[in-house]
Assembly symmetry: C2
Homo-oligomer: 361 residues x 2
DNA sequence: CCCACTTATGCTCACAATGAGCATTAAAGG
DNA sequence: CCTTTAATGCTCATTGTGAGCATAAGTGGG
């Protein structure tokens, strides 16, 4: 009776069967901005012209980079919108469309690209024209290039739009006022159960009241703030609502729901950086361990333990020394490394342990 | 000097920073069926009418269930296609569209739904009409219902389409011939490096030559077989190619690229089941540990270690006993459990440990 | 009633992975 | 030479996970 010999990364494992309980915000049944979203209402009692309907497809890209320890996003209109454009007939595929569109619009070559999410909610666009639009969001990782900055095109820190997300120096100052406002929102709920529920939700999302901060829940936090009416974009939609004078600052707004798409992208990247070697797409060819770590820290919005980070890099053999030494460190010189591209082809996928169960159990 | 107190699930962790090296096949820059995909060629030298183009949106659903220890998919046309239909103007959102379309088509209520992927490759459809189509794939989890089976509508085992994916009784018989054919394909490459590369790729994907089988790489394996010309759908596309008489059986074909979409869904579900409590969507309200385990095994196509699986359930407190006892076990009676829905709201997300770094490092 | 057989449950044990933090090395700047 | 700042090495306690032994509690036959 040999037993399973579990290399499956599974229950026999269990390492992998640690269920997260959290929605990733990109897949589950949420059509708008969460329950209270004004956009989720409306419709459903309108024309009901149940026929195929020609529509336009739009591509929206979140182009991310890291410079000077800051995660940045490529924007148009002086930071008010993400690069986007129509899906054209000349494009072989959606992916090709994003690439050509963004590169034409920004003169910026894209690196790694992945699809984020597709949506076509009826009330998405403010000026709903005659045609319905289906939007496909993409996340692209690159190096920030400084050359020919077109007018209006620029790189802005993520944290300009989500100031509560940067916990590298500990909880950011904005967090206090935000939690205060959320508590107010909870208090305004009708009924004790409603108040309790709102309180539970915001504490959970923001790690308040002794709960832990989960850096991955970017979208959830944004949606909660939106629901609580603390996001400028939400106030735009309900014209009656004025920004309360006591409302805390909740970051710069963007056109339409671009900021929500950015939140989706950050969520995705913060999750992905943990199980795929994507950081390297954001770094120059060679780097020191510290630079690598700081890139991860910038994205995650957290400080990391230096020695353990190093140990991890060593164990996984993701990088190899170039032989070069960086002397401008402020301390002992550091070795420079390069990403071992071969790992993309090699055997063991670090996290999810491999396969196969043999014999009877 | 307090230190980081790393609960971040991060590098200080490293638990989470074990990069996978693998593409998930749903996000990366692959527009067709991998490098050799005939669909990835074509186009790019055609009309180039670079303007906004009205197109039709189509929704395609992979509706999954588990019955009698088999993972099943809801199909139309006697197993030849997935439920699909146009995105209509009456639909509030894409998600709502899938729901109503599938339910109308199959009289089957859907449970959990998540978006899979959106594609609009030019050469996707065989009969490319005048209009371009953008397709949005969805994955839905439900319980199989037996009532009023419309003609042509039915549930088929996944493994009918991917017979090499079921490793619950050890490597399936088809695997041998398939590996043989892949070796032949590798041998037919021109040049030693080409042959070596093909060999490396198929061994990696299929866990041949001492390598481990990774149950998550469903899409990669399918694409490799497609590229090797071993998939019926691929042969349809290049009319010259006849199925070789020595070709191994590679499962039932489906219309268009529906089988590829199914592969994407299986890949996603096999991955997701490890870090989110989604299995419960596939189970009745109460169940025994064994039933739960068998559902996971059906999806993963692997056998699991019973005691450790149990330990996991206990540790994570995902289920609670109902008090009921199942006696028809063939052995000692088993307790029945129910999923603790509260866990969806509760604190700790099992896998990705929580956050926050305080103090200086 | 005892026995063989089957599945359910408990529990142990060794080993690998991970969180924290001490210690040492190697530059730069007075 | 001494202080400060990083880079690197390495230790140590804890927890997580792979395997498997052992016992419990039914069923179906002698």
């Amino acid at each position: 009776m040999p037993g399973v010999d579990c290399q499956s990364g599974f229950p026999c494992s269990g390492r992998m069967l640690t269920w997260n309980h959290e929605s990733d915000g990109t897949g589950t049944d949420r059509s708008g901005h969460g329950r209270g979203d004004p956009r989720a209402v409306g419709g459903m009692n309108q024309e009901m012209a149940s026929t195929t309907m020609p529509l336009d497809a739009e591509l929206i890209a979140v182009v991310a980079a890291v410079t000077a320890r800051m995660p940045r996003v490529l924007t148009l209109e002086t930071g008010n919108s993400l690069p986007s454009g129509p899906f054209e007939s000349a494009h072989r595929s959606l992916q090709a469309g994003v690439r050509s569109w963004v590169e034409r619009q920004t003169h910026h070559p894209l690196g790694h690209i992945e699809q984020l999410y597709t949506f076509a909610d009826r009330d998405r666009l403010e000026s709903s024209g005659p045609r319905r639009v289906i939007s496909v969001g993409y996340l692209a990782l690159t190096l920030e290039s400084r050359r020919d900055p077109e007018p209006g095109v620029g790189w802005w820190s993520w944290y300009r739009y989500f100031p509560w997300e940067d916990h590298r120096q500990g909880p950011p100052p904005v967090l206090g006022p935000i939690l205060g406002a959320l508590e107010g929102w909870a208090t305004r709920a009708s009924g004790a159960p409603g108040r309790r529920e709102r309180r539970r939700r915001y504490r959970h999302a923001f790690g308040a009241g002794g709960l832990a901060w989960n850096e991955e829940w970017v979208l959830q936090r944004y949606e909660l703030l939106y629901e609580a009416g603390l996001i400028a974009e939400a106030q735009r939609r309900s014209p009656g609502a004025e920004p309360g004078r006591d409302d805390p600052p909740t970051g710069e707004a963007m056109v339409q729901d671009h900021r929500r798409i950015l939140a989706t992208a950050i969520t995705r990247l913060r999750a992905k950086i943990k199980y795929r070697p994507v950081v390297f797409e954001l770094l120059p060819a060679t780097f020191t361990y510290l630079e690598l770590q700081q890139a991860v820290e910038a994205i995650a919005g957290l400080r990391l333990h230096k020695q353990n980070f190093r140990r991890l890099m060593v164990q996984q053999k993701l990088v190899e020394p170039t032989g070069a030494i960086e002397v401008r460190t402020g301390g002992r010189p550091a070795r420079r490394y390069r990403f071992r591209r071969e790992v993309l082809l090699e055997q063991a996928p670090g996290g999810a342990r491999l396969p196969q169960a043999r014999g009877r159990i």
